[in-house]
Each structure stands twice: as structure tokens, then as C-alpha cells.
């Protein structure tokens, strides 16, 4: 096989392999990606609703959400467009707390956003202390372009799963592919297995 990319040496650090999923590069900046205009959602009309597969639902206003136990996760995040950002600092409510608001035995959950965006994940991936509804980044209120006033944070999956401007979770017994999952992206999205696109294993 002929040598590919003659003269390419690369400048990426080879020493970050343990923290950097395959095909990613580290960035200090915080790129913004979204499919449409940034919605501006005021907190005084904001609410978050969890709905079970039987239609049972539970909602929180902004103040009620802020009164729930708060956590401060520090996590690495990985975007399917190949940037990774280490040690990002957030504040928010564990999805364990919110998911406990309804009784469910569904295997899947769809996150729904104020702009109509959706994304799907197995229920097991938003419980067990691995996912949050976050409202602060680096000690400041989350800005609208980064999904403020509140977004999901599911750091062990590609970042499109961490829905911006999220307004609720809907538990489902059938897996329902969301916005990007219908537009060519992988149904699950594990960065460590490089599950980027439909045809990836």
C-alpha cells in the first residue's frame, strides 16, 4: 500500500490517548454547533417535564428545579465534529432525581427541546449518576448559544445527545431516533467506539 499523506507529521499530542477518544482532538475553546437559530427561553416561563410511557407526568418550574439538590460535575466532553474539551465544570440536577418523578419501566427516553430538537438515549444512560440537567458552566449561567437556560449533560456520549434548550424527557418502550439520528448520525453515539454515523458499528 502506498504511503498516505506524504510529509504529514501531525501536531496532535500522542500522549493524550488515555483521555482522548479515537479520532478526536483537544480544544481549549468551546465551539457552538446547532441546526437552527438560537432560541431565547426566559426562565420565568421555563418548565421541565418528565413523562412516562403511560402518560404520567411531573413538571418543575425554574425555581423548583433550582431548589432540588445540585451537583457540580467536572467532565470531559466529546463532539462528533471531533473536538474534545477536558475538565468542563457544570452545575445542575442529576437526571436520577428528575427521572424518579415518574414510575417507568421503559427502555428508552427521548429528550425534547424548546426549538423542536429531539434526541434519543437508552434509559440506562441517563440514570446511575451519569447525566444531568445543567444550568451553569464555569460558574456562570449557561448562555443561550450553549443551550441556556438549561441543557442536558450526558458526557459519556457524543455531545449532540446533550440536548440544548431542553424542556423535558419522555420515556418510551420503543427506541425513537431523534433529530440527528434521523439525519445520518449513529443511534447510540459512544465516542470510545467512534459511533459517529449510521454505518459505524
Amino acid at each position: 500500500m502506498a504511503s498516505l499523506s506524504p510529509g504529514f507529521h501531525g501536531r496532535g499530542s500522542r500522549s493524550l490517548v488515555e483521555r482522548l477518544p479515537p479520532g478526536q482532538y483537544p480544544t481549549e475553546s468551546f465551539p457552538v454547533l446547532s441546526a437552527g437559530p438560537t432560541p431565547h427561553v426566559p426562565t420565568d416561563t421555563w418548565s421541565f417535564t418528565v413523562t412516562s410511557e403511560n402518560g404520567e407526568s411531573r413538571s418543575w418550574t425554574w425555581d423548583e428545579m433550582r431548589a432540588l439538590p445540585q451537583e457540580q460535575p467536572v467532565v470531559d466532553i466529546h463532539c462528533v465534529t471531533r473536538w474534545s474539551k477536558f475538565d468542563t465544570r457544570w452545575e445542575g440536577v442529576s437526571l436520577d432525581v428528575l427521572a424518579a418523578g415518574v414510575e417507568t419501566s421503559a427502555g428508552f427516553v427521548v429528550a425534547e427541546s424548546f426549538d423542536g430538537y429531539t434526541t434519543n438515549v437508552p434509559r440506562a444512560d441517563v440514570t446511575g449518576g451519569r447525566a444531568w440537567l445543567v444550568h451553569s458552566f464555569d460558574g456562570y449561567p449557561l448562555s443561550p448559544d450553549h443551550g441556556g437556560p438549561a441543557r442536558l449533560l450526558i458526557p459519556h456520549l457524543y455531545f449532540w445527545k446533550s440536548a440544548k434548550w431542553v424542556k423535558g424527557l419522555r420515556f418510551t418502550t420503543e427506541d425513537e431516533p431523534g433529530f440527528w439520528e434521523r439525519a445520518g448520525y449513529h443511534d447510540y453515539g459512544d465516542p470510545w467506539r467512534e459511533q459517529r454515523y449510521w454505518n459505524d458499528a
Binding site: G7, G10, G36
Partner: protein
């Protein structure tokens, strides 16, 4: 050994891509054309991943927009050199003509437009954000879909930063083409240099059915998308793609 079947992605989804030409667009932007045996085609607005491999096996991958509609096994990319970039300076200045990289794609099923999509079309580009929009404009020109109004607004900092300058000046086009300068206007330009403003969109398609595509750096996209909404375009009619 038999040749790979056309349209079937090779193992791992990576196609070998041989650089066949490179042309300057701006001081830091280049048009690169690759031959990709087996390339299945793509839709205007889609992108692909380019993978480079160093001698020690180290690999780096970045996404680049396709600048032209599908044309057999040739793909055209618009690559802007990123300051301190790892991949773009190599692609733009080092990779020899005739040498190979690998590509994966086509990718992206949202920021796309095909000539079958009817209705007014409004394309708004910041800098090299024009690249995927150029694929849409070229596809429209090739299809001869001239009934529906179409406009391309290009915002650039200075005259030397306009991509596809010759093609956009083509008087045979039936599109409304507008170039806006934000920092330095060319001699004779009546509009003083400033960022995209409501006046700059006057007379362009404004009906709620208009399909809007906005591509550019984040600050530009935020500004342009807000402006489009203020002139009545519903959020759901505005598709965005950002970089940087």
C-alpha cells in the same frame, strides 16, 4: 482481486482520495479537487471527513464542506487555512498533487438543498461559509430551476477574502447576488464597511416559505439568524451551520 462496487463504502467507510488540483481562492482559502474511486455522490450542502496518516501511524481527521454538486468520482472541497491548524495548512500548502489522503462521506443530512426543493431560496454566507452554499447555487444553476427566486448574500471582511469572485460576478446568473464588506470596502463601493444589517436584505425573498441557509463563524450565524427572524422568517425555516 475485483474492483470495489460503485456506491459501496469500503471497509471502515474510508475512500482513498487522490489530489488532482489545487487553486487559490483567497490568500488563505483553496479549492481542492480529489478523485475518489467509488464515490457514491452527494447532495449540495453535505460535507466529508478528510483523514491524514503520518508515517508513525498517527492520524488526524477534519470535516470540510463539498463546494460543488456531485460530478462522478470528483469531489471539490473548499479549505480555509486555520491559524495553527493541524490539517488545513497541510492540505492547502503541502499535500503534493497526485498524493493521497482518505475521505469518508457524504455526511450530514440536514444542511442540504437539492433542485427538487421548490420555493424561494435565501443563502447567507460569512467568509468561507460560502463553500456549502456554493454547491447549492451551482446545483440550482445546473438544473436551470429559475422560476423560484434565489439570493446569495456573502459577507466578507475585505475584497481579497471573497471566494468564487469570478463565478459570482457571472452576469448570466439569475440570482440576486450581494457582497457585503464588513471591515474594508473596495474603491467605489457605496456601502460603507459594516456588519450585515437589515437594509442589506431589502428586496430579497422574505415569505415564510423561503428556505434560509446560513453558514459562517458562530458570531456571524447568531447575528444573521436573529436578523432573518426579525424580518419574519420562522425559526424552522432557517438552517444553520457554524464553525470556529
Amino acid at each position: 482481486m475485483s474492483a470495489p462496487k460503485t456506491g459501496r463504502s469500503p471497509s471502515g467507510g474510508w475512500w482513498r482520495a487522490r489530489l488532482t488540483s489545487r487553486d487559490g481562492q483567497t490568500t488563505t482559502g483553496r479549492t481542492l479537487r480529489f478523485e475518489v474511486p467509488g464515490w457514491p455522490g452527494h447532495r449540495p450542502g453535505q460535507h466529508l471527513d478528510v483523514r491524514l496518516t503520518a508515517d508513525d501511524g498517527y492520524q488526524a481527521v477534519r470535516s470540510y464542506s463539498l463546494a460543488a454538486p456531485a460530478a462522478g468520482e470528483t469531489v471539490e472541497l473548499g479549505v480555509q487555512t486555520a491559524p495553527d491548524g493541524e490539517v488545513s495548512p497541510y492540505l492547502n500548502d503541502v499535500l503534493p498533487i497526485g498524493a493521497e489522503a482518505e475521505v469518508k462521506g457524504p455526511l450530514g443530512g440536514w444542511f442540504v438543498w437539492t433542485p427538487e426543493t421548490r420555493g424561494p431560496l435565501l443563502l447567507v454566507a460569512g467568509g468561507c461559509g460560502v463553500v456549502p452554499l456554493m454547491a447549492m447555487l451551482r446545483a440550482r444553476r445546473a438544473a436551470g430551476t429559475l422560476v423560484d427566486p434565489c439570493a446569495l448574500v456573502c459577507s466578507v471582511r475585505a475584497p481579497g477574502e471573497l471566494w468564487y469572485a469570478k463565478e459570482l460576478a457571472d452576469p448570466t446568473g439569475t440570482e440576486d447576488l450581494r457582497v457585503l464588506y464588513t471591515r474594508q470596502a473596495p474603491p467605489g463601493e457605496e456601502r460603507p464597511a459594516h456588519r450585515l444589517a437589515p437594509d442589506d436584505l431589502e428586496g430579497l425573498p422574505a415569505s415564510p416559505e423561503t428556505r434560509c441557509y446560513v453558514c459562517g463563524p458562530t458570531g456571524f450565524v447568531e447575528h444573521a439568524a436573529a436578523l432573518l427572524q426579525s424580518r419574519g422568517h420562522p425559526p424552522g425555516s432557517i438552517r444553520t451551520e457554524r464553525f470556529g
